[in-house]
């Protein structure tokens, strides 16, 4: 469980994080979405006590991160791929981390095996590709077998096989009841990995809801209809307050009217339909729409989700 309470971070005149409140629950993967520069990394750094909030606070597992002497047993974090001295081998990097938190030496080899770096354990980290550095960072996060995992852009630089591996790893960690908080600017990835989303833009909360809710809320949800009488249907839909885009020759793309209502109205007017399909926005589209105008959605989605959290 991670709880942020009205946490803000100011750098000079820029408010990087603006009174952000959210709760990350156990047992599911929570995606932390936002465009680059939205304040995701700053928030993650505040969670693990590297940066101090200007106001507000963050608690992990019920208390501030810095109250722990051996935090790696409870919280594992991948902050950036490059938080490793390039001159040190992967194994030695994990060894000092383990020693600093009283973690058994065998965990070092176990996590190296788990992330697939066992064969290059003695190589210097500076020779690693970005993908291998990410794996080493994930190994470091898993070292203390923590209940809470924070991963900042873990799939950056990974090949498709690596991305799939991270996805499955995160799902299985959450399946074991752990708290998994993972940031990304890749919506498509989050759609496959996350159960719940916290979306921020310009340091402010835009949405805190399940993936399904976020998609459902996107106003770009539309209905596709094919009919022999496009002109009649168009005036009918417009009379119901809907908007119509036409695609040649017989297809209409309708927004502002529910799929169900389109069918009922068409039947009453005796308009024959060949096709009636609900077109859901992709998470990508939902996200683009939300971050285009944050204030509108701030009020729209957040309160319901907050109440449920």
């Amino acid at each position: 469980m991670i709880e942020a309470e009205a946490v803000s971070k100011r750098y000079g005149s820029t408010l990087a994080v603006d009174s952000l409140s959210f709760t990350v629950r156990d047992g599911c993967v929570t995606g932390f979405l936002g465009p680059n520069g939205a304040g995701k990394s700053t928030t993650m750094r505040m969670i693990v006590g590297l940066d101090a909030p200007t106001s507000g606070g963050v608690r992990v597992g019920g208390r501030p991160y810095r109250d722990r002497r051996f935090p790696l047993h409870e919280v594992g974090a991948l902050l950036e791929a490059k938080t490793v001295h390039p001159g040190r081998s992967a194994r030695n990097h994990l060894r000092w981390l383990a020693e600093s938190n009283g973690i058994a030496r065998r965990r070092v080899d176990a996590v190296l095996e788990q992330v697939g770096l066992a064969s290059v354990a003695k190589k210097r980290a500076g020779t690693f590709s970005l993908g291998m550095s990410q794996r080493l960072g994930i190994a470091a996060a898993l070292l203390g077998d923590p209940e809470v995992l924070l991963l900042d852009e873990p799939v950056n630089g990974l090949d498709p096989e690596g991305i799939r591996w991270v996805r499955e790893l995160l799902r299985s960690l959450a399946g074991e009841g752990r708290t998994v908080f993972v940031s990304s600017h890749l919506m498509s990835e989050m759609a496959l990995t996350a159960d719940h989303l916290i979306v921020i833009g310009q340091g402010r909360l835009i949405a805190d809801a399940s993936v399904a809710e976020v998609i459902a809320q996107a106003s770009s949800n539309r209905v596709r209809v094919a009919t022999a009488e496009p002109a009649r249907l168009q005036s009918l839909i417009e009379s119901m307050g809907g908007k119509v885009e036409t695609a040649p020759p017989e297809e209409l793309l309708i927004s502002g009217v529910e799929c169900r209502d389109v069918g009922i109205a068409a039947a009453r007017a005796a308009i024959t339909l060949y096709e009636l399909t609900k077109v859901e926005a992709s998470l990508e589209e939902a996200f683009m729409e939300m971050t285009r105008d944050s204030s509108q959605y701030h009020a729209g989605i957040a309160p319901t989700a907050m109440a449920g959290a």
Binding site: R25, D26, G27, C28, R45, V48, G49, L50, D51, A52, Y65, R66, D67, R68, R69, F70, P71, L72, H73, E74, A77, L79, E80, K82, T83, V84, H85, P86, G87, R88, S89, N92, H93, R95, W96, L97, E99, S100, N101, G102, A140, D145, E147, A174, G175, E176, G177, R178, D195, H196, A209, S210, A212, E213, A216, Q217, T304, G308
Partner: protein, 281 residues
């Protein structure tokens, strides 16, 4: 809106979390810092260079003096201190150990590793203390090997033409131990400067400026200001600790000078500790 209820898995059995004592925490940090220090090649190189400079330069100066033994003037022969003379390589070696001290912390900022370090041990002052303790131990041990060797080698070269010193002579043991301590304290000064300035280049420049440039600048001051100020500069205040015999009347006494020298390191570490604790990592 059609919210799908999220099915939560059964809560995990509570894990028994370690609650180490302050001492156990410190021990863990010291072990981790020791692993860090010895698992990077630059450490070994810096330490080897330190030993090579102290021993090699000392031997070179001794050999040069022996070669010119018959042509030295009265000033050069008066108050000759064979102990300190054999360890004059410290004047250069101090840069190698000082730079290593700077890198102990500033390389963590340069590589981003500081994030891993402070997330693993949020008690930042304990981290700094661990770094200092490990470094003092390593630098003192290496310094002792370097100074002891330089002394023995130097005396055997000087003995061809001059009266030499042995470990039993007054002040000799203190000077050899003093040389090792001088190098260790200098490394601690480097750690302090690294913690304050974070960037390796800046901290190394500050170290060189403090040790070598300020004495040159202080010489441009009119007398007696040049000595009044110059005698408090670290190199001049600290170096009598690895020499024997009388200290110049314009300098601080050996003991006071060494305390002043150590004070530079203490002040740098205290300021560095405050910065490390208060600033974002």
């Amino acid at each position: 809106m059609n919210a799908t209820p999220e099915v939560l898995p059964a809560p995990r059995p509570a894990k028994v979390l370690p609650e180490p004592s302050a001492l156990a925490l410190f021990g863990s940090v010291v072990r981790a810092e020791w692993t860090k220090l010895r698992s990077v090649r630059s450490t070994m190189w810096s330490l080897l260079v330190t030993v090579a400079l102290v021993v090699g330069l000392g031997a070179l100066f001794c050999a040069a003096r022996v070669a010119r033994a018959d042509r030295l003037d009265a000033g050069e022969l008066r108050n000759f201190d064979p102990t300190g003379f054999s360890m004059n390589g410290i004047f250069l070696a101090q840069l190698a150990i000082g730079v290593l001290g700077v890198l102990v912390i500033s390389s963590e900022y340069a590589t981003g590793q500081i994030g891993s370090t402070l997330a693993a041990t949020p008690q930042r002052l304990v981290v700094l203390a661990g770094k200092v303790v490990v470094f003092l131990g390593v630098a003192f041990t290496v310094g002792l090997v370097a100074c002891g060797t330089a002394f023995v080698v130097g005396q055997s070269i000087l003995s061809q033409k001059f009266a030499t010193a042995s470990f039993g002579d007054p002040g000799v043991l203190r000077a050899v131990l003093g040389g090792a301590t001088y190098l260790a304290v200098l490394g601690a000064l480097g750690i302090g400067l690294g913690a304050i300035l974070r960037r390796p280049a800046g901290a190394i420049a500050a170290l060189v400026g403090l040790l070598l440039v300020l004495p040159i600048l202080s010489n441009f001051l009119p007398s007696p200001w040049n000595d009044d100020i110059g005698k408090y500069l670290p190199l001049r205040a600290g170096n009598p600790i690895f020499h024997t015999g009388a200290v110049d009347s314009t300098d601080l006494s050996r003991g006071v000078g060494f305390v002043v020298f150590c004070a530079y390191a203490v002040v740098a570490l205290v300021v560095g500790a405050v910065f490390l604790d208060r600033r974002d990592a």
